[in-house]
C-alpha cells in the first residue's frame, strides 16, 4: 500500500497540531486552572495519536496515547495541573517534535520514549512526586514499551479461566507475531481473531481488541483462549492466516495461571518503584543524543504548506499589475535606449516570466479532482442502462487552473453520459456486431502547448451521419441540399447546435436536445473548444481543448487606424499578406481564396466602426486568418504589431455585453486595448 502520498499531509498536519499544542502549553503554564486549554491540548494529542497510528509510527502513537491519558484525568478534574506536569508535557512535546521532524527528514520516527512514557504513567498512577491524587484503580493501558509482560488478567478473567479448567476445557496463552512487512496488521490480527473464535473463546487479549483494531500494536499480540482443541490445531489455524511470522501456543493450568499473574504484578511494581527516580532525573531527554544521525538521513519528503485561496488570487492580481508595468518598462527602455536600463529591464523580464510561471503553477490543480467521481457515476449509469462498460482513465495528474477545474465538471459529466447513452451499444447489439460485450470508455487528459486536452472516447456504434442529417433537416437547422455537401466533421458539429437530439428514445439521462449545445457554450465560455470525431461502428471521440489559465493569454496586437486591438493567439490560424483585388463577391459576401478554400473576408475597421483616418487603401492587405471550430475567416487589419502576453481585464459590468469585444488589456504605454472576440465575427 502506498503511504507516501499521505506522508506529506501527515507531516503538515502533525506540525500544525504540535504548533497548537505548544501554544496551548505555554498558555496553560500561565493559567494552570483553565480546563479549556487542557481540552485543546487533549484534542491535538488525540488527533496526533490517531494519525500516527494510522501511518504506523508506533512511538509517536504510544507517547501521545499516554499524554492523552494524563490530560484526560486533568480535564475530568481528577488530577490537578502543576508545574511538574507541565514540564513533563513539554518534554513530551519536545519528543513528539523530534519524531515528526525525523519523519519529515525521511526517518522512521522511532525514538525511545519509554522514559517519558513511564513518567506519564507515574503521574497517572499518582506515584509521581507523591501527587495528591487518590490512587488510580485500573492499571494504565499497556503500551508497546512493555507489551508482553503487561498481559495481566483481572480477577474476573482469572476466575473464568479457572472455572473453564475445572469444567475440562483447556486454556492456552497464545502469542502471535505478524510479519514485519505486513501493511494491514490490524486486518491480519482480525483474521487471527476470527480463526480463533471459530474454535475457542477469547478471554483476554493484549493489547486490547480496540487497540489492535486501530493498529496500535507493534508486531505481536497475545491472547488467552478457552477451547477443547489441541495446541497444534490452534497453531495451524493461526498460521493459515497469511503474513503471520510466528505463533507460540502455551497450555496453562491453574498453577501457572496464578504464577503468571503474580509475575506480571511484580513487573508492574518494579516499573512503578523505578519511576520517581527517573522522573526527577530527567535532565536530558534520550532523543537529543540520537538526533544527529537521523538528520543526516536527509529530507526526502516534499514540503507543502496550505494557503488560503484568496491570498493566491491576490498574488495573481498583484502579478498582473507587475506584468503591466513590465511591458511599460520594456517600451520605455526601448525609447530611452540606455544600455544599463535595457539590461536591467531584460533581467526583470526574465525574472517576472519565471515568477509568472510559478504563480500560475500555484493555482494548478490535478484534474483528478474532477475525474474522481466519474468511475462511480459511470458504473451507476451503465447499470441503469443495462450496459456493460469499462472506464479507463489516464492522465488524471494533468493540471489545470483551479477556475477551469471548478467549471469543467458539468460539461464532462454530460459528455460521459452522452457516450454511455448514445455511443455505447447494449451488450446484445455489441455481440451482434462482433464486439466484446463490455464497452470501453476512455477518459484521457494531457498537456499540449498552452492547452490541456480532455478526450472522451468510446468504442460504440459511432455517429450515423445520415441520421444526424435527417434530424437536422427535420429541425430546420439545414436544408437537404446543404446537407449533402457537408463534410463529416461539419455534420458532426451539428450535434452541438441548440435544439438537436438524435436519440430515438428519450431517456432521463440525455436526449432531450439540451446537452451538447450547453456543453459547447460552457467550454467556449472557458476559452476552450470542443470537437468530435467519429467512425461508424468503431466509436466516437469528443475532444475538449482548454486553456491552461484564464487570466494571462498570448495575443496578437493589431492596429486599425489609430486604435490598437488584441486578438487571442488561440483563435489565430496564421497571418498573411493578401492582394486586395483577390477579393471576390459570392452571394453578396466578400470572400477570398485561402489554401484551396474560399473563406469570408471582413474589414475589422468597418466591423468595429473605426473612425476614418484617411489612410489610403493599399493593394496589399495584412490579414489575420481566424478559426472558429472548423470555420475560417480572414480579417483585414492595418498593421500587425506583434505577439504579446496580455493580462485579461474585464470591461466591467457596465459594458458587459459589447459586440465583438471579450475584454480589455492594458498596454505598455498605459493605454487600454480591447480584446476582439473572434467567435462573434465568424458566422
Amino acid at each position: 500500500m502506498e503511504m507516501n502520498q499521505y506522508l506529506t499531509m501527515f507531516i503538515d498536519e502533525s506540525r500544525e497540531h504540535l504548533q497548537t499544542m505548544n501554544e496551548n502549553l505555554l498558555e496553560l503554564e500561565n493559567n494552570p486552572d483553565d480546563i479549556d486549554i487542557v481540552h485543546n491540548i487533549f484534542r491535538s494529542a488525540h488527533t496526533l495519536k490517531g494519525m500516527s497510528a494510522t501511518m504506523g509510527f508506533e512511538d509517536l502513537a504510544s507517547l501521545t496515547h499516554e499524554m492523552e491519558n494524563v490530560l484526560d484525568l486533568v480535564r475530568n478534574g481528577k488530577l490537578k495541573m502543576d508545574t511538574d506536569i507541565t514540564d513533563v508535557l513539554f518534554q513530551c512535546f519536545d519528543s513528539l517534535e523530534a519524531m515528526v521532524e525525523d519523519i519529515a527528514n525521511g526517518g522512521s520516527g522511532q525514538l525511545d520514549v519509554s522514559e517519558t512514557v513511564q513518567t506519564l504513567k507515574a503521574i497517572m498512577s499518582g506515584d509521581f512526586k507523591g501527587s495528591s491524587r487518590e490512587a488510580q484503580t485500573s492499571p494504565a493501558q499497556p503500551s508497546q514499551a512493555n507489551r508482553t509482560s503487561s498481559l495481566t488478567l483481572d480477577q474476573y478473567q482469572l476466575t473464568v479461566l479457572k472455572q473453564s479448567l475445572e469444567s475440562g476445557h483447556r486454556v492456552y496463552w497464545i502469542q502471535v507475531v505478524i510479519d514485519a512487512n505486513c501493511v494491514l496488521k490490524a486486518a491480519r490480527a482480525y483474521m487471527v481473531f476470527n480463526a480463533l473464535e471459530q474454535v475457542s473463546e477469547i478471554v483476554h487479549s493484549s493489547p486490547s481488541v480496540e487497540e489492535i483494531e486501530q493498529e496500535k500494536f507493534d508486531d505481536r499480540f497475545s491472547v488467552f483462549v478457552v477451547t477443547q482443541q489441541e495446541p497444534d490445531a490452534i497453531r495451524e489455524r493461526i498460521m493459515s492466516v497469511s503474513e503471520i511470522a510466528q505463533t507460540e501456543v502455551a497450555e496453562m493450568d491453574e498453577a501457572r495461571l496464578q504464577e503468571w499473574n503474580n509475575e506480571a504484578e511484580t513487573v508492574k511494581e518494579a516499573v512503578k518503584s523505578e519511576q520517581p527516580d527517573q522522573a526527577k532525573g530527567t535532565g536530558e531527554p534520550v532523543k537529543k543524543e540520537k538526533k544527529p544521525d537521523r538528520a543526516a538521513a536527509g529530507g526526502q519528503v516534499s514540503r507543502t504548506i496550505r494557503v488560503d485561496l484568496d491570498r493566491l488570487d491576490q498574488l495573481m492580481n498583484l502579478l498582473s499589475e507587475l506584468l503591466i508595468d513590465r511591458v511599460r518598462l520594456e517600451s520605455l527602455a526601448e525609447e530611452i535606449k540606455n544600455y544599463d536600463l535595457i539590461e536591467t529591464v531584460e533581467h526583470l523580464v526574465r525574472v517576472s516570466t519565471d515568477l509568472q510561471n510559478i504563480v500560475l503553477k500555484l493555482r494548478m490543480v490535478p484534474v483528478e479532482a474532477v475525474f474522481n467521481r466519474f468511475p462511480r457515476m459511470v458504473r451507476d449509469i451503465a447499470r441503469s442502462l443495462n450496459k456493460k462498460v469499462n472506464l479507463v482513465i489516464t492522465g488524471a495528474e494533468t493540471e489545470l487552473d483551479r477556475t477551469v477545474i471548478d467549471e469543467i465538471g458539468d460539461p464532462l459529466v454530460h459528455l460521459l453520459r452522452n457516450s454511455l447513452d448514445h455511443g455505447l451499444e447494449s451488450p446484445e447489439e455489441r455481440k451482434r456486431a462482433g464486439k466484446e460485450e463490455t464497452g470501453n470508455i476512455y477518459l484521457r487528459a494531457f498537456h499540449s502547448g498552452n492547452h490541456v486536452f480532455i478526450e472522451i472516447e468510446d468504442d460504440g456504434r459511432g455517429i450515423d451521419r445520415d441520421k444526424v442529417l435527417q434530424s437536422a433537416v427535420k429541425k430546420n437547422l439545414i436544408d437537404e441540399s446543404e446537407g449533402e455537401q457537408m463534410s463529416d466533421v461539419e455534420v458532426f458539429n451539428l450535434l452541438f447546435s441548440s435544439g438537436f437530439s438524435t436519440a430515438e428514445k428519450i431517456s432521463d439521462l440525455s436526449g432531450r436536445g439540451v446537452g451538447l449545445d450547453v456543453v459547447k457554450s460552457k467550454i467556449t465560455a472557458l476559452g476552450g473548444q470542443v470537437s468530435v470525431h467519429s467512425q461508424k461502428g468503431i466509436g466516437t471521440r469528443f475532444t475538449v481543448q482548454l486553456p491552461l489559465t484564464l487570466s494571462i493569454i498570448s495575443a496578437m496586437l493589431i492596429r486599425l487606424g489609430e486604435e490598437k486591438y488584441a486578438i487571442p493567439l488561440s483563435s489565430i490560424v496564421e497571418t498573411a499578406i493578401m492582394m486586395r483585388d483577390e477579393i471576390r463577391l459570392v452571394h453578396g459576401m466578400q470572400m477570398i481564396s485561402y489554401r484551396d478554400h474560399i473563406i469570408p473576408i471582413v474589414s475589422l475597421k468597418e466591423v468595429l466602426e473605426c473612425p476614418d483616418t484617411g489612410e489610403a487603401e493599399q493593394d496589399e492587405m495584412n490579414v489575420v486568418i481566424i478559426r472558429k471550430g472548423e470555420k475560417l475567416a480572414a480579417l483585414i487589419v492595418d498593421e500587425l504589431i506583434g505577439q504579446q502576453e496580455i493580462v485579461l481585464k474585464s470591461l466591467g459590468p457596465y459594458l458587459s455585453r459589447t459586440f465583438a469585444i471579450s475584454g480589455a488589456t492594458i498596454l505598455g504605454d498605459g493605454q487600454v486595448a480591447l480584446i476582439i472576440d473572434t467567435n462573434s465575427l465568424v458566422k
Binding site: 498582473s320 499589475e321 503591466i324 486604435e563 466591423v607 468595429l608 466602426e609 473605426c610 473612425p611 481585464k649 474585464s650 470591461l651 466591467g652 459590468p653 457596465y654 459594458l655 455585453r657 459589447t658 459586440f659 465583438a660 469585444i661 480589455a664 492594458i666 498605459g670 493605454q671 487600454v672 486595448a673 480591447l674
Partner: protein
C-alpha cells in the same frame, strides 16, 4: 438635528449637481480613452485607472444634453454603484459640501432637461444656490442602455 449628507458638487451647463461622497471613488482629469465600438454615443470609452479598466460616459450625452468640447476644467468623477465602477464626464467638479437631509426636497418634473427619475432631490443651500442630487442607480441603469441601443438600431 437631521443627518448631514456630504456631496461632491459639479456642474453641467448652468446647473449645479451633487453626488454623495460615499458613491465617489475618485475625481480624475481628462485622460486618453479607448473607444469601445458599438456602444451608445455617450459611452466615451474605457480608461485605465490603477490597473483596472473603467468605462467612462459623458453625463451630458447620457441626459440628452448637447455635448461640449472638453476643457481643462473637465473632470471624470469615478463612481461605484453596486460594485460597478463608471466614470462620469462633467464640466467641472468644484466643491464638497454638507447638506442637511431636511433641506432635500422632491425633484420637480424636469430640471435642466433631466427627467425626474434620474434625480434624487433638490437641495437649497444657505446662499440660495440650488443643488440637484442625482440618483446614480437610475443614471447607470443598464436596462435603459439596452433600450437606447435598440432605439438607435431601429
Amino acid at each position: 438635528m437631521a443627518e448631514e449628507l456630504k456631496v461632491i458638487v459639479f456642474s453641467l451647463g448652468s446647473e449645479t449637481y451633487g453626488v454623495e461622497v460615499g458613491q465617489v471613488r475618485s475625481i480624475e482629469r481628462m485622460m486618453p480613452m479607448t473607444r469601445v465600438p458599438k456602444t451608445p454615443a455617450f459611452v466615451k470609452g474605457v480608461i485605465q485607472l490603477r490597473g483596472s479598466v473603467v468605462p467612462v460616459i459623458d453625463l451630458r450625452g447620457r441626459f440628452g444634453l448637447e455635448e461640449t468640447e472638453y476643457t481643462d476644467n473637465t473632470r471624470i468623477i469615478i463612481v461605484s454603484i453596486n460594485d460597478m465602477e463608471v466614470g462620469l464626464i462633467v464640466d467641472n467638479a468644484t466643491d464638497v459640501i454638507d447638506i442637511d437631509e431636511d433641506r432635500i426636497e422632491d425633484p420637480p418634473e424636469i430640471v435642466g432637461g433631466i427627467k425626474a427619475k434620474y434625480l434624487r432631490g433638490v437641495a437649497k443651500l444657505d446662499d440660495d444656490r440650488l443643488i440637484v442630487l442625482l440618483n446614480l442607480v437610475e443614471v447607470l441603469n443598464k436596462d435603459e442602455i439596452v433600450q437606447l441601443e435598440q432605439m438607435e438600431e431601429a
